[in-house]
Subunit: 395 residues, 2 copies
């Protein structure tokens, strides 16, 4: 039989990062291409103990169907934490547990956007979200990033000129892939523009708690008095990505529609993982754990940045991240980025070509993304030195 | 802010079964309205032991990101079991792990169907699938059920006259909600029609292993020599629905597209649950466990049928199921079905009104669905007697 696929899927390609994973199964390859938490970042003993207790004390609850909205005590604990710690959540808001923040972004898009609508994105931006938008046949409008976040003038121009803009998608903290943090002024300006042009802000904050430098900047959601912001968070970077537990907090009418959309998508999120996440968050030293891994990532980031200064400067430019998992490097003019990435992996160092994060992979891009959470100290030291040699051989 | 939802979502309602759940939180209500495994059906000790071992022996693997296709040993073990036990899987097939069979159905629809395409369904059919189809704005064409499955003549008429038919959706074993099993002859005829009209068969088999009466009937997928059948299975009814582990086996080009669609939907399925499912299936007495719960459901089904014979016959008609979880009851002419269901729940017995399973809830329907896996023996005895009193009061 010859298969005809839907219009929305037939041109959608697997993420280029997945393709690079194939090289990284070679144990000799140093992978700067991942976005995984460090293997040492999992609170293994707490998870094992809590899981055993749950399966001892209330096994049927942990194995039976649950409601689509999510495990009630987890939802309550998340709301309380978000409100008390980050001033997130108003009377008009509700919270749903999602199977990762990825599902939160996916379902928000599904309920708010029709095919052909426009979503404005930071350019570059997270490929998983861009592909989710593409899978609903949205028009992606990229707005360039500056050192303090999205260019606000360009954003307003896009809001004025693009047709059927439904959402502005942003990762304000330690953005993937750029590592950039949006300033408070720009967050306020972005929210004002969303209100002025009556569009939704989709605020994606997977890395926000992984700050190792500088001061906390209030989230856009914390300033949302009129229900313009949908906020996605996750346990993936602060507990475990394999659990697939994230959440969306947004005005109740939006959450009600997301519940309906989730019901047909996967009924509910794995319930044992929800119970474990709830208990880890409320019974263990969750903040201490986050501080510990943030500190570890800060050390690795500084080590990697130092190696870039040693072996890639002054040719390569980057913005030093204040948290998160990534450093974004701009190659000098005249160096072919894809050729550089290819030579790097031939020399057993995998990086992600920057064009993966553009609105279209064919857009000009002379940058690449490095991850410092997954590799060891030794791999960071060796790997960046190799990248330096590759670059020098090309100049 | 006033919210405008996407066309695909704005008219989609939560499942009526969910609404009935609200009544069943009242502990005095006997719930014949669920589709849950019995609380006694969970292999709690095995799951607890395996989970503890996994978190002791390979915790990082169980907590880290994994690939979208699913945990490799689980995929291999599933392929082997399906092939050896059910002759399912050809050289051209591949398998992906999904977050429940619901996700398998959802993603298959997403990759194969455009808005406005037609999916032919058994009428009545499973509301979760119908709502998934609706969420992609498909045209639902219902074909009536007979005692041995879908009416083949009507099916061919629909294939001839409906526009852009992409899929025939069927639950051949112990169908939800009708309890009906499709005969071998009809399975063959359905596959021939799919080949003749070049459409996909979406074979949903969540209950197939829960047979307590009669002989196994080969699946449509087992007869699929040319790649017309997408087969969805799940651990929900034979291990745990809360784990959300199902799978799709289908021709490789379809699976490749489902992988891309799943990547943007939820990245991958909870990995610990996949490892536990794999080990329970291969290291424990999986077949013995399935036999045990099937036997238990058979006892409860016969008990419920006996009570129907005692208290609802000869007014109510039903087809005795050979497996699965449900009995579908037809009320006599002149009794208002919705009124009956309302009076039942007022008398503390919850059943599901049959129109929930029709292509449109406004279609005429004089049936209701009973579940016998969740209630206890005592509840089955008392509850059906109450239904008898309600019916008699209405005649």
């Amino acid at each position: 039989m010859e298969y005809v696929f839907s219009e929305r899927i037939k041109n959608l390609k697997p993420s280029i990062i997945r393709e690079i994973f194939k090289f990284t199964s070679d144990p000799e390859v140093i992978a700067f291409s991942a976005g995984n938490p460090a293997p040492e970042a999992f609170p293994v003993e707490d998870v094992a103990r809590i899981t055993a207790e749950v399966l001892e004390q209330a096994p049927v609850k942990a194995l039976q169907y649950n409601i689509t909205e999510g495990y009630f005590p987890l939802r309550e604990a998340l709301k309380e934490r978000l409100l008390n710690k980050y001033n997130i959540g108003r009377d008009f808001d509700e919270l749903i547990v999602a199977s990762g923040a990825q599902q939160g972004i996916y379902l928000t898009t599904k309920v708010l956007c029709n095919e052909g609508d426009t979503v404005i994105c930071e350019s570059p931006s997270f490929i998983g979200s861009l592909n989710a938008f593409r899978s609903f046949r949205l028009n992606l409008c990229g707005v360039e990033m500056e050192r303090d976040g999205i260019n606000i003038e360009s954003l307003e121009r896009a809001l004025k000129t693009e047709k059927n803009v439904k959402m502005i998608y942003t990762i304000p903290n330690f953005q993937n892939p750029s590592g950039i943090t949006m300033s408070l002024e720009k967050r306020k300006a972005l929210l004002e523009l969303a209100k002025k042009y009556n569009v939704i802000v989709l605020e994606d904050n997977p890395y926000g708690e992984l700050r190792f430098e500088g001061e906390h900047v209030p989230s856009i959601k914390s300033m949302d008095e009129e229900g313009h912001v949908v906020y996605c968070g996750t346990f993936s970077k602060v507990l475990s990505p394999g659990m697939r537990v994230g959440y969306v907090i947004a005005p109740a009418p939006i959450i009600q529609k997301i519940v309906v959309a989730k019901q047909v998508a996967d009924v509910h999120t794995n319930i044992l993982a929800q119970i474990v996440a709830k208990r880890f968050m409320t019974e263990c030293d969750f903040d201490g754990h986050i501080e510990k891994i943030s500190h570890m990532y800060g050390e690795r980031c500084r080590l990697m940045a130092g190696q870039i200064d040693n072996f890639l400067a002054p040719y390569v430019k980057y913005v030093m991240p204040q948290g998160g998992l990534f450093i974004w490097c701009d190659l000098p003019d005249g160096v072919d980025m894809l050729d550089f990435c290819r030579r790097a992996v031939e020399n057993k160092v995998a990086v992600v070509p920057g064009n993966a994060f553009m609105m279209s992979e064919s857009e000009p891009c002379n940058s690449f993304r490095l991850n410092y959470s997954t590799p060891s100290r030794e791999q960071i030291e060796t790997g960046v030195e190799v990248l330096g040699k590759v670059l020098k051989s090309m100049m």
